[in-house]
């Protein structure tokens, strides 16, 4: 389905749920591979929170759409072009620093977005945001702390974090893109205009990166497309793994 034909609020819920779903899957790929046990546990817990939030957002998308699709149907039975997550969350994990930087840039946006959604005029949206924001506050605390510790750490950790920031930076801008659905939702008081979140994100990210002694890249280019279903090759590989069971054995249950 062309994203332009999806009703604004459904499109919004899909975007929120696809962001958390794909990032959750990416983060879960660290399970058993993190540099230290505590980080392995933390990554798995963050992935778990995100999958719980996915169930709420995609569940609401299915309800609002009214075609009888469950959160699982939406997660496992769409192809890449129907996913509306930003490109940032499908970026490969890379090293621990790249995973962490991606998480930090996302958490800062996610917390700002959810905080604004707590006063949404649509009660079901406000309810999900109020639940999720408490969990995301912990995500942001952790990723900020680690970005500072590793950025302002050894020469090796600093160099890796600076390289990670360089790699991810041009993917952050898409989180603030605006289309006609966003305009309609902002008008109705359902969700904020994503561009309006940018000053707060800039301030938050700027403070943490300064404390981490990391230099913000002087590059204003923005990689975009995910929000309208145009993805990098990485998403297809994620789906081939994530959706395998339902594709090979439709309606499998246990």
């Amino acid at each position: 389905m062309q994203p332009q034909t999806i009703p604004p609020i459904v499109r919004f819920c899909l975007r929120m749920g696809d962001n958390t779903l794909i990032l959750s899957h990416r983060v879960s790929q660290w399970c058993g591979h993190a540099p230290v046990l505590e980080e392995d546990i933390a990554l798995a817990n963050v992935a778990l929170d995100l999958i719980g939030q996915t169930q709420m957002w995609l569940g609401l998308a299915g309800d609002l759409e009214g075609a009888g699709r469950s959160a699982d149907d939406i997660a496992y039975r769409r192809d890449a072009m129907d996913f509306l997550n930003v490109l940032l969350v499908e970026r490969p994990n890379g090293d621990f620093g790249q995973t962490l930087m991606r998480q930090f840039l996302f958490d800062a946006w996610h917390h700002t977005m959810l905080t604004a959604l707590m006063t949404s005029s649509e009660p079901r949206v406000a309810e999900i945001a109020t639940k999720a924001v408490r969990e995301v506050a912990y995500h942001l605390e952790r990723s900020s702390d680690l970005v500072i510790r590793l950025g302002d750490g050894t020469a090796e950790s600093h160099a890796r974090m600076q390289a990670a920031l360089h790699d991810q930076w041009t993917f952050a801008g898409e989180m603030f893109d605006v289309d006609e659905a966003d305009h309609a939702l902002a008008e109705a008081g359902i969700a904020p205009d994503p561009a309006s979140l940018k000053p707060r994100w800039d301030a938050l990210v700027g403070d943490i990166l300064a404390e981490a002694t990391l230099a913000i890249p002087d590059n204003r280019f923005v990689h975009r497309g995910g929000r309208v279903g145009r993805h990098t090759e990485h998403l297809g590989h994620i789906l081939s793994d994530m959706q395998f069971l339902q594709r090979a054995y439709p309606d499998a249950s246990w």
């Binding site: 505590e38 980080e39 933390a42 963050v46 009660p123 309810e127 109020t130 408490r134 969990e135 912990y138």
Partner: protein
């Protein structure tokens, strides 16, 4: 369905559910931990509203099954379990008695009245009581090892006095 089921007082049902242990922390019940939000009859159907602690907590579905099994064991067959998101679950709903049970079990309980977003940080900044005490020796000389612990609701700590590691129930 037994005749006159709807006459069972809600308090009795609450007492039954108070016997259902939390699957991850069996020293406290699903009522004590604040997961059971409401017990009411809709006509002859018993409706129990349950709220998830963390949205992805895998124990939530187990809790739903345990509640249903307990009620059926007490002879209730006409029942419905509803998920309620609002108001969101908070550690402030864990009562004083349950906090002591957590401590005796080796889990440092959440800090009182710090659950709502931001309040914990504010309390730390204003020098309020934000000490996490070692559940074993009671020392306030403790440090956080990791913000995420063995379950979504806990963080990992260690005591600098008795050197024991312990779990802390995160404030949310």
């Amino acid at each position: 369905m037994p005749v006159g089921e709807a006459l069972i007082p809600v308090e009795t049902i609450r007492n039954w559910l108070n016997e259902v242990p939390d699957p991850e922390i069996p020293v406290v019940s699903v009522v004590e931990i604040g997961i059971v939000r409401d017990i009411a009859f809709d006509g002859e159907t018993l409706v129990v509203a349950v709220t998830p602690t963390y949205s992805g907590c895998p124990a939530t579905s187990v809790i739903t099954i345990d509640i249903e099994a307990a009620l059926r064991a007490h002879g209730i067959s006409d029942l419905r379990i509803e998920r309620r998101l609002s108001p969101p679950w908070t550690t402030d709903w864990i009562g004083a008695e349950a906090r002591e049970k957590l401590r005796a079990y080796g889990i440092a309980p959440p800090i009182d009245g710090t659950a709502s977003t931001g309040a914990r940080i504010e309390r730390i900044l204003t020098g309020g009581n934000s000490q996490v005490e070692c559940p074993r020796c009671g020392s306030a000389k403790t440090e956080e090892v990791s913000r995420f612990g063995s379950t979504p609701c806990k963080s990992a700590w260690r005591c600098l006095t008795c050197r024991e590691p312990f779990d802390h129930f995160k404030c949310i």
